[in-house]
């Protein structure tokens, strides 16, 4: 009986999660890699610094942002391409990345995240001594 109840609640919460997921916007991203780090750029227009969250949980990097605009209370929508106020996207990180040293910067609605590689995995140039 308890087990059955658990499944039911899970189903309910699962359905709720799916519904919530549908309402988030998936920001467009650019991702680059060089010897020292991985750079991620995400378009999150309308998001302020207070509305932005960049989180690392284990190996998952989650970027979330809420659109905040001041507008009159009585304003009604006449046309809408953007149907949600939340951006969200998650990425799986790999072992060689230094998750403790991630830096993020927000500029004109573009979020730039720098994920440095651990010191020991950065490419090293090996000097060749000619004898």
């Amino acid at each position: 009986m308890t087990a059955y109840k658990d499944i039911a609640t899970n189903k309910e919460t699962a359905a709720k999660e799916v519904a919530e997921q549908r309402l988030v916007l998936r920001p467009a991203v650019d991702i680059f890699e060089n010897g020292e780090s991985i750079e991620l750029y995400a378009d999150v227009p309308g998001v302020t610094e207070e509305g932005l969250s960049v989180e690392v949980d284990g190996k998952t990097l989650t970027v979330q942002g809420d659109i905040q605009i001041d507008m009159p209370n009585e304003m009604r929508s006449l046309y809408a391409d953007v149907r949600s106020t939340r951006y969200q996207r998650a990425f799986t990180l790999s072992d060689e990345l230094d998750t403790g040293a991630i830096r993020a910067e927000l500029n004109d609605g573009v979020l730039a995240v720098t994920i440095p590689k651990k010191e020991e995995v950065r490419p090293r140039k090996i000097e060749v001594s000619v004898g």
């Binding site: 304003m75 953007v82 106020t85 609605g109």
Partner: protein, 148 residues
């Protein structure tokens, strides 16, 4: 509060006009008549339009714009927004995903008929370009006094 320009609520007429917009998007597009300025879903930049009895605000979601490149034009209640998004390419880096828009863009939107094009004011903040218009004075609700 912000929900006002994104949510699907609103009065019955709003819901009907949105339904019509969606139907046009999904079924009417091939062959049938669609708005003359309709764009494919996901076109850049995304635009929301909100209105009150006093004015109409157009929100253009364009992150990372080159501010000097923004140009706005209003002619016969059609607003044209143009600009340029510079490409991001760090040196000596190899790209994995490149989804973000870059380059020149131009988009035209039809405004409600009672909008005063002369009253336009624009600001660009947090990657959001907001163009505010006032409605024409004759379109404002007016209280009619009864004389005895």
């Amino acid at each position: 509060m912000f929900g006002a320009i994104t949510n699907r609520e609103g009065d019955l007429f709003d819901q009907f006009s949105r339904l019509q917009q969606q139907l046009e998007d999904y079924w009417a597009a091939p062959g049938g008549p669609a708005s003359i300025r309709a764009v494919a879903p996901g076109s850049y930049p995304a635009v929301n339009i909100g209105g009150t009895t006093e004015g109409v605000d157009v929100y253009v979601f364009a992150a990372g714009l080159d501010k000097d490149s923004i140009h706005l034009e209003v002619q016969h209640n059609v607003l044209t927004v143009g600009g340029r998004v510079p490409a991001t390419q760090p040196e000596k880096a190899r790209p994995y995903l490149k989804e973000r828009f870059n380059g020149e863009f131009r988009r035209a939107v039809a405004l409600p008929e009672d909008v005063d094009g002369e009253s336009a004011q624009a600001k660009y903040r947090n990657g959001l370009l907001q163009i505010s218009f006032k409605r024409k004075a004759e379109a404002q609700p007016r209280k009619i006094e009864i004389t005895h």
